[in-house]
Subunit: 326 residues, 2 copies
């Protein structure tokens, strides 16, 4: 089965994707190793994943005067479009430090230095305005809306958020939610946003806030895709070793949105395929520290994981009635 990237008869740039988010330094502690001030940030992971499906994914973010040329080159060499990367000459790059628990799932934030983010006021280059698929990485809801104000009727807007914004900026977050097509959050965030413990009920409450499609990420337990009356129970690859879960959710979003930008159709089946692409990409990134695993990934590598997912979760037909009748 092959899916073409259908050129659309509209003014939207065919097969184009934009991601707004952070480009950051992360210091990550796991029970086994510490990595200091490595490249991170949601926009970094989203674009590095999306480039497997989309040429020159467009990045909207801000870094500080301390952001090294080596990191710029690294992204440029991977054909990330950096026209939307602003360099703030007076502030430092956003910094996050966290420590993962022994289960490699829970984590504590040890330090957050907003730096350039405190005054981030995204200005999209003219070349970005007619983008097919827009990814709103985890950021202040107001900044997500500022980006939406500057793009012309994209085919699809995909959004991430986190408990911090649900707690501290719910009204602004709801304004963002009213303008998006797909929300991607984890199970705890879904329960908190809906104020309901049952995920099926929560999915209805959240979709009534705006996004017609909801993806609930459950980490090692896979994901659930809710769209209209359809539900897809998506698998995750059982992995023997997880080095660093940082960026797995952003990578999922990049793979998901990148695949849809490429396929250019938005049916439930397209969304299912996109969820599997996001899952496959995320399975690589957790195997190494930071976004390292994404640097030299090929479509063939991704296809290998997609084939494993398909085999792993293949559901046979069962005939309970016939079983008794013979």
């Amino acid at each position: 089965m092959r899916f073409a990237c259908h050129a659309q008869p509209t003014t939207i740039d065919p097969v184009s994707l934009l991601a707004v988010g952070t480009v950051a330094f992360d210091t990550v502690h796991t029970p086994f190793r510490t990595a200091e001030r490595i490249l991170g940030g949601s926009a970094t992971y989203i674009t590095l994943a999306a480039r497997l499906f989309v040429d020159a994914p467009r990045l909207v973010a801000v870094v500080g005067h301390d952001f090294p040329e080596s990191c710029i080159s690294l992204l440029r060499d991977r054909k990330i479009d950096l026209a939307g990367l602003e360099v703030n000459p007076t502030e430092k790059t956003f910094f996050w430090e966290g420590r993962y628990h022994y289960n490699m799932n829970d984590r504590d934030t040890l330090d957050t230095q907003l730096n350039v983010l405190a005054t981030f006021d995204p200005k999209l280059p003219a070349s970005y305005r007619s983008t097919r698929v827009v990814c709103l990485g985890n950021l202040q809801p107001q900044v997500q809306q500022q980006v939406l104000d500057q793009v012309e009727s994209p085919d699809l807007v995909v959004c991430d958020t986190m408990n911090f914004w649900i707690d501290s900026a719910l009204d602004e977050l709801k304004k963002t939610l009213a303008r998006i097509d797909v929300l991607i959050i984890n199970d705890e965030e879904a329960r908190q946003l809906a104020d309901h413990t049952n995920l099926v009920v929560a999915s209805r409450i959240i979709r009534a806030m705006g996004p017609k499609t909801l993806i609930i990420k459950k980490g090692e337990h896979g994901a659930m895709l809710f769209k209209d009356d359809h539900v897809f129970w998506a698998p995750a690859l059982p992995l023997e070793e997880i080095q660093d879960p940082t960026g797995a959710g952003d990578t999922f979003m990049g793979g998901f949105a990148g695949y849809l930008a490429c396929e250019g159709t938005y049916t439930f089946d397209s969304f299912k395929r996109a969820v599997l692409c996001g899952t496959a990409l995320a399975s690589f990134v957790v195997g190494q520290f930071g976004p390292e695993a994404l640097y030299d990934l090929t479509p063939e590598d991704v296809q290998g994981r997609l084939d494993r997912l398909t085999t792993l979760a293949h559901v046979p037909a069962v005939d309970a009635i016939g079983a008794r009748m013979v």
Copy 2:
């Protein structure tokens, strides 16, 4: 697709299943309701589920002088074979009381009264000795072995256990594990038994203890089936309302083992179908208190849930390479 119950050219009774376990009174508290002294016990749930696939599943258990005729009739009317149900005239029936947390997943045991179980010494009726599929419900490992001593080369032995036996009777449990084909436990029990947090690694460690097949139940997150080099990522039905999770694991085992006893083949694909049958049966039982939902269940009801599971978890093929090449 229809699966016949193949009559085997052996001395094993075709399409026969035996379950040893508890027949008990349970008092169950949920955040929404309390049900006092309702019928419960692993052997009750296993046989009530297995009867959807197997005529007259054979029950091995002990009850006390307080066990009412109405409960006997209830089981007999559902065609459970009670030749192996011993009545102890001097002791009371096993009693368990527990309280579920608001998440309906975690629970605290408030009271356990062993009563008849303290001296349970199972004696199998001669008619039970050539049974095709043997289910060892959660019980002292020594009692599980006593049952195995009395059956003649069954096709398949399926076993459940719990953290209490892993803590208090590991050596005896390992003797049981060495004699079984399939172990069904939950994720926390698997981590504890293997002494390893990673479930893929844990599955190898546990299977080296004896059972060639391992099923790890993850509650609302589904289950994983490990057999040889194969893994199956089994879905669970997203349910809007859970009344009482008691007996869900036993019901899963009854549906799983019942289906296999009926199909009579033990390939990886048969095991996958059996896991889906167990999942479908368990999805009913949690919707009502105690085993009530199983009393009048029909194969058509089960087929409805199986069809929903198949739709829910259908994984499409994805071509990541072709997506970029067009």
